[in-house]
Amino acid sequence: MKKIASGLMACTLAATMLVGCGSSSSSTPASTAGSASNGSTEEEINLKWALWDIDATAYYQPLIDAYTAEHPNVNIEMVDLGSTDYQTVLATQLSGGADDLDIITVKDIPGYSNLVNLGMLEPLNDWNTTDTSLYGGLVEQITVDDTYYALPFRQDFWVVFYNKDLFDKAGVAYPTNDMTLEEYDALARQVTSGEGADKVYGCHYHTWRSAVQLFGILDGEHTIVDGNYDFLKPYYELILAEQNDGICQDYATLKTSNIHYSGVFYNNQVAMENMGSWFIATQIEMVKSGESQATNWGIVKYPHPEGVEAGTTLGTITSLGINSKSSNKEAAADFVNFVCGEEGAKVMASTGSFPAIMNDEVVNTIASMDGFPQDENSKEALYTVKTYLEMPMHEKSADIETVLNQAHDNIMTENCTIDEGIQAMNEGVQALLG
């Protein structure tokens, strides 16, 4: 009897999965977009916002406060799914087409492409009220077939952090805002010194694939989802040479010892460090608390290959989307428009984070933060001319990423030659692209 009962339950469960979620919401943007902007109906509205790191993130609460000040009838509940396992937990929460969450924070492009593939995100073309040209090309990079399913509200771009004291000690001139890769490499070699505990590395690449590979896409001629990776060879050669010459710490040690990029910078062990702009706020805070001993520091623009304009760099975006099963799309869209629009951008900048909409005002706000380096170059470094996403939008981006990461790992630990690694990438990704 028990067997039958449990069999029945399993069948029901399987049937639920077979049918998927039938209860898709019926409200459509076309019919209601007009009234979306004045969300001041007296009705009480509750929205659930999926995100991560509530306590460690400066801007969630200010954004909600700023919004609910204008819309007192809206109540926004944050649902913290944790940053490390965000994608796994989100996938589980949304399984079966659940409508529990209204607003979904999109952490990265592979995550975005998954949600789009699954049909979990509402197309935003008709809901959006902000001029997309303000985003400096970011929206275009996440548009699929003329439709975009999320709007960026935060962006980060790669710069070079450098330790002025170490440069002074070595008697080497500071890096500049216009460095070719060769100049940057030469500089790194000059500033490297010492042995053992006194060793100072000229530069530092975290174990992320993007820290090495993505020099290759700055010229705009290749993308990381091409299926052919021969163009990466010179960059691997450059960085492996640095690694073998002791100019940067070797990948295998970094990876197996879990060495975090911030610790080596704080401890005056690296003169230059390529890192995202998110590290600015952390470094400022750590200098204040005394944990970072790299108190005399600055930032300059990311180095670029010969012939590419200075200020061309890599970036990541954090975006907001709306659950296509949500029953509160109208209110959710209004909130998304606020956060991702110019009003939200001001709030973001005031907390020291880079909003997706960048302008002089935002740069000034951030550069005038207490603790931000005082030299002109550092402020100038905040202006970018072109930001390529670390991973461009592609249907298979998550799977491509897996292949590339495996090959990268093999090349950097010198378990295979550069050519073999690139061949593995070519074959693996071409197999995925079909």
């Binding site: 469960l13 639920t16 509530i54 940053s83 937990v89 996938a91 952490k107 610790g263 998110w278």
Partner: protein, 278 residues
């Protein structure tokens, strides 16, 4: 007896040397935890490693209680662990008695079914399970974790194997004395299986206490979360406070060690055989 005194002394020395070496390698992680918990975050993974921090940052042990609602997490974890351990030990020792000492229809099939599910990785059925629990409206409740953890096949298997080691003659004798099966379980089996029960208590306690994936999937509200989820709160997208993680880990290790040490006294030889004589 057979061995001479001299060779037994040599043997002792070898045994102790071996044990001390072993204890050393086993203790290293703990020493590392302690050392890391008293450092600044930037120095935790610094190479070469310093075992004794330059300055002792005892304030880490204060920070963990204020930076996250650690007290709530500790309380939640205690609540879950105690309930789960109690249910697990009770139901599985009960079921194991039937599997090892009673004969009934479908015994082998049922038992193989139990063990079979241990072989299926949780990652494979996590999503169907979550959907089912959501249908029961159990997601984001402690009850979900209790239901998932309290009825494991592992406990039944463990207890069954220990009962197998208890001679059937004891049960037979008790039956002849007129004890019911429940009476035999209560009066004969339970007292004789104290080492086994201690083992199961320790294992269930540790598993539930350190469980991460279950609470991660099922508990979203901060006031429901457990210590292991709390530890993850120190790992954020852009930085990880490993010194605080280690301080909290040291704290969370204490109850586990207390349980382990407290149950040591039941690891005494001859419990089962002393029953034989009586």
């Amino acid at each position: 007896m057979v061995t001479t005194k001299k060779s037994s002394i040599v043997g002792k020395v070898i045994i102790y040397a071996l044990l001390i070496l072993l204890a050393f390698t086993m203790l290293v992680p703990f020493v590392w935890m302690l050392s890391a918990s008293l450092k600044l975050n930037k120095d935790v993974f610094a190479f070469p490693m310093k075992w004794i921090p330059e300055t002792f940052h005892w304030e880490n042990y204060k920070t963990i209680w204020t930076k996250i609602p650690m007290a709530t997490f500790v309380l939640n974890t205690f609540k879950l662990t105690i309930i789960v351990t109690f249910l697990q030990v009770l139901t599985s020792s009960f079921a194991a008695y039937a599997f090892s000492k009673l004969r009934f229809k479908g015994r082998n099939i049922l038992f193989l079914g139990y063990i079979g599910t241990i072989a299926v990785p949780w990652q494979a059925y996590m999503v169907p399970q979550f959907m089912m629990m959501r249908e029961f409206h159990l997601n984001n409740t402690h009850l979900a974790i209790i239901c998932l953890q309290a009825f494991s096949a592992f406990g039944v298997f463990l207890m069954k194997q220990f009962y197998e080691g208890i001679p059937d003659e004891l049960c037979e004798a008790a039956r002849i004395d007129g004890l019911s099966e429940y009476g035999i379980y209560r009066r004969v089996m339970l007292p004789l299986s104290l080492p086994a029960i201690s083992t199961l208590v320790i294992f269930t306690f540790v598993t539930t206490w350190n469980d991460f994936l279950g609470p991660l999937i099922y508990l979203n509200s901060t006031d429901l979360k457990t210590i292991q989820l709390g530890l993850r709160m120190f790992i954020t997208q852009y930085s990880s406070d490993y010194n605080l993680i280690m301080a909290a880990s040291v704290v969370s290790l204490i109850p586990v060690l207390i349980v382990f040490l407290a149950l040591q006294k039941y690891f005494v030889q001859g419990v089962a055989s002393s029953g034989l004589k009586g």
